[in-house]
Assembly symmetry: C7
């Protein structure tokens, strides 16, 4: 009840040394539909569940290409993500123009995190309400998987998942990630789909409409695998019996703020 | 009661990770009179119910031409829509001047959505109180139907409806949209009218005064069909017996803020 | 009681999707003394009731010339109206200087409405507290009658009335406006006076001191008809017995904020 | 009690469509000591009661020359008035420099009113707390008497009075103003003094120390008549027995904010 | 209790038309130690009581030279006064540089009062918390004594006093000021000391440490008379028995905000 | 309960002369995982506990290189630290470019402290939520260990520790720091590890994954010792039996704001 | 309880004419550790008690050199003091560069006080939370001792003390300051140490670690006497038995905001 004196302004510290507005913004990431990311020594795969506003709409894009060596999967407010993606694309273009080579993913993610951090230190703008999984393959350092947060933090992962019901995917990934290192691209995709299939909400299952996968890696420019191209992999998943295992802890579809 | 501590400032997150002011702005779209949009493989049709302030006024414009290949139907605050339409027309003019060709609708809608998004992240301006259905025919990619929201989201649809009593139209469209693909222009207009007729409020019915249709498509510049030109189609609708089926769940005509 | 959390800031949405400060500003229009406007196919007539602060002052101007083809009648805060009129005159002068012809009334009214709209979207300025009836004759498109609102809406009418007790005038106009189309200028003026006479407050009646009429039309530059010139028409009205029929529902003369 | 939610910010509308801060500012005019203004066809006379802070101070100036054809009498905050007078003098100087002739009083008063209006529409500055009676003689249009208000309104009068106990002067002026038209300058001054004498507070009477008169007119540059020059007229007033008739409804001398 | 809704912001009017923050600022003048000012036809004398923070400090300056023809005595916040004095000195220097002669005191005091007025109309700065007695000798118009207030008012006096216990000095001055006109410089100084001696707080008396006198006049550049030079005059005062007559209505020495 | 009137704005003093928002920001340092710093006459060693978000992520960097002669260990918000580190690196680069030599650490720390101080004096930005241990070797003055605080204070230490459970490390260091002066690099590292091992939370112990050490000194450019390189030292620690002695007073792992 | 309506904003006057935020800022000076200052006709000595954060840190600097003829001792927030000292050094450098001679201390202290005053008149920055004793020797006017306050006041003293328990030092100085005038440098230092020794908190006594003395004067550039150099004087003090006489009224060491 009294706590709220410290939680309506992003520039106000609570007596416990917390920035409550930043923590609230991080809640919006937890309500977005799930994304997963994982990498081997040569590839990064990112996957996401697309939400359909209704059956007449195309599904919402959850994975966006940033450059030919980098893409993102998003959980949280789509509008915030689109605005950030636009900025990231521009940074990549500028870097390529100036230096004649692709922007290193570490550097872009650090700049992106600073962009987040600034919104947490001034009252002019609210913190962004979106988390990003950034998958990139740098010529010099190989595949990378980063996660950025509304707080301005950035983490590097071997494999991870964010968004609603992402715990299910995390559990799968923790069990298997140690074996990913020399995995082939197609098997890595299968791992992504298996992790993702546990995050589907309600009675639904992962299918070619709500699933979305992207790969980037050695000699592999960023590609998006959706719809019929995805079916090939989903068929394998069905054969395994690994789809639809989500136990349905109540979704939040039709969410007013249209998180993705 | 305590919730309102988070709902009077657009830059304040609620503890649940929501932006309540943005959600409130989206309410104003639900109170505007209904619009529908649908497309075949060659055409987009947008339709809208016009509200008359009183019998001596001309009906309020609900459909506006943006360029010869694009138009919008609006639900929500007319003044906000007019201001956005003005900006969209300028963007189209500038693009044509610089590149010598029409602005791609996807690009304009993304920029428009960013314009919305910015109002949700700073305290300087309130979120716009209007939703738009954008119908466009791009030389390269054919017909498109987009919907934009106060939250900064943008969706592509095969067919959809927004505004008061739009659920009635959505139900009609969901039943029929799968057959729209090769439909001729005139039949597509009839679908729009049938969908729209269910959204008329009170005991009224769709007529040449309150109805408004626009078409754009292959070899078809944006045209507005109203009044007598509309009667031709309405006559067919009457023959079908498909008009006036709205059950009248209480309108909000004479609404103080003049939503359209 | 709880409602007021959303009604003291123009940039704050209420949970119902309303902008209460804009609605309150529109109240000030309802408290100004009445104005009427009506048009035939060749002329527009605007009329207004002038309030006298006391007998020693000249009556307050309620009708202002904007250009030789356009004038306005105002209801609400006079100071706001004067500031807007000044801006409109400048726009007309600039347009004539740049294009060598009179500014189209539709364009000016749209720009004026945008000027209103901007005050509803930022906290820097309050919404204007005045409604305008704009009567204009465009060389290309003939006579027009527009109404602008604090909300940024603009309507075109065949005939309408705003301000205190304007319902009486509206009732008269609704009964007769369908016959206005080919009416001569003098008869149109008589309609304006008849409509206006019902809006006089208390026991008073329309006379050459409190009445004010303006005409603009085909081969007719904007002229103001007041005082003795008005008497000619008022005499006819008295002969008809059509003056003084207002039933006096309590005026608000001597209003502290001097609305006009 | 609940009203105050709308009355501490000049940019906030009350639910009744009023700007309460502007109304409060107008109260300060009512607390200033009285001023009167009146005109014949050739002259304008303005008069004012000066307050003495104590016997050792010179009386406070209540009438200020703006230009050789114009002067003002003030009621309300002296500091605000002095700041406005400075601006008016500059406007007159600039006009004379640019156009080679005196600034028309109507134009200056309209600009002055706009200056007031702007303070009522933005939160940056408070409304001015002073009312002005402007007496001017324009070469082209003869004598004028204007009154400006904190609300941004401006009125033209034949005769009027503002400030504390001004009702007494108004009553006198209403009785006599119809005969002012061809009155000579000296008789017009006597009318001003008779009107003013009723506004003296407490048991005091109008004398050469607290009275102040100014005249401007045809072939008469602005002159201030005070002290011994005023005695000549006051002697005539005493002979009439027309001084000291004020019934003393309790003054507010020694007012903390030093209104004039 | 409810009053405070209008008294924390300098730009907010109370319902009675008062600016309470300005009135509060004027309280700080009443708490400063006393100053007196008086003039003859050839000289102005200003005097002040200096407060000593403790015995080891030099007494605080209460009289400051602005130019060779002008000085000030201050009551209220010393820091505000010093900042204003700095500005006044610059104005005098600039005037002398541009026009080759001393700045007229009336003009400087009007500009100074405007500087005060601006702080009362905007929320950016608080009103100054200091009152000034300005003593000046203008070549053209002789000696002047002005008083400025936080409200932006400026008064001219023959003699006056401000600050704590100033009523005692005012009473003395009112009794004698009519005879000051042809008084010699030394006798004028004696009047100042007699007036000042009544303002000493507690059991103290006026002495060469707490007293401070300045004179400026015809053929007399601004001089400060303190310490031993002051003793000559104080000795005469003691002979008269005119010192130490203050009845001690409780001082406010050691005041937290260090008013002077 | 009433205290909170002074504790939500960084520019507001409490009646006790405290800036509560700054004190709250300093709480966030206490919640970061522990860092230690210590120096001999030739070397500075800084050490830190890294937190792992989960097993699939790389541990969060807690020690960052600023220049070849300087590095920092951080406790508090990582995003704030990264933003400060970026600024520090730029300062070092600029100094080297302009003066041709490394930036003196004292000067950089003073500038850094001023950067902190500014956020405590203006409402524009919140205070930083991070504390830094700066270890540097200046060519001219030898090794230095500084600590900076959100308050803008900077301290030089022989040895110290900040962050969660840092009291344990401080106790160790106080017991031994007097003997550090001539200690060799390797022994200094052992001291750092022994101090750090007491800060490990829960049942965990210091290992090559959560430990991080950096050294800089005479003829020793800044090097980071982690993972296998660290194992060499940790093995020695185990032999000593000096690891895992932390008693586990309840950690705050998984902290929402991701302090480091 | 109601008082707090006036005490959270530095630009708000209380009804009693006080600026409570400025008074609160002055509290922070009272909580800093003590400083003393005193002068003879040729020298100024300033002394201060240094606080140690803990035994491993060097003591905090309390005396800073500004120029070769000037230094300061500080009580209050160290971060604020460091920021002011930086500014003072720059002013001195600029003055020397422009005029070729040392900046007069009076002028610098007046400018410094204005810098303080500005923070008390605008809401942009909080008042500084530090008091300064400025000791300087001007070639032209000899030794000076100034004290500046958060309120913007500046005082000149023969001898004084500020900070926690400074009353003890003041009592000593008041007893002896009248004999300081021809005292030699070393004896003046002894007076400073004797005054300071009474301000030591708890059971501690003045020693070479917590004491700090600086001298500047005729033919004596600013020097700091600390540690072993100070021991020579402290030995004399011990011989006198004049150390450790503080009665220990409870210190506030380890103060959260790190006052100095």
């Amino acid at each position: 009840m009294f706590r709220n004196q410290y939680d309506t302004d992003v520039t106000v510290w609570s007596p416990e040394g917390r920035l409550l507005q930043v923590e609230y913004a991080m809640e919006s990431v937890k309500q977005g539909s799930a994304c997963v990311g994982l990498r081997s020594s040569n590839y990064v795969v990112i996957g996401a569940l697309k939400r359909s506003v209704n059956e007449m709409s195309s599904h919402q894009k959850k994975i966006m290409e940033i450059d030919s060596h980098m893409g993102i999967a998003i959980a949280g407010l789509t509008a915030d993500a689109r605005s950030l993606a636009k900025w990231m694309r521009n940074e990549c273009l500028n870097h390529k123009y100036v230096y004649g080579e692709s922007m290193p993913s570490k550097r872009l993610c650090d700049d992106l995190a600073d962009r987040h951090q600034r919104t947490t230190q001034t009252y002019v703008r609210r913190p962004y309400g979106v988390g990003l999984l950034v998958g990139a393959y740098d010529e010099a350092t190989g595949p990378h998987l980063y996660q950025t947060c509304p707080s301005g933090n950035v983490y590097e992962y071997f494999a991870t998942s964010i968004g609603a019901r992402s715990q299910s995917a995390k559990t799968y990934l923790e069990k298997h990630y140690e074996g990913f290192d020399n995995t082939e691209k197609d098997e890595l995709i299968m791992h992504a789909l298996r992790a993702l299939s546990g995050c589907v909400q309600g009675d639904g299952e992962l299918n070619k409409d709500n699933g979305s996968i992207a790969v980037v890696g050695k000699d592999q420019k960023f590609i998006l695998i959706e719809n019929d191209e995805l079916s090939v992999y989903l068929d394998k998943l069905d054969v395994e019996g690994g789809n639809g295992e989500g136990e349905g802890e109540g979704g939040n579809d039709g969410d007013a703020m249209e998180e993705s």
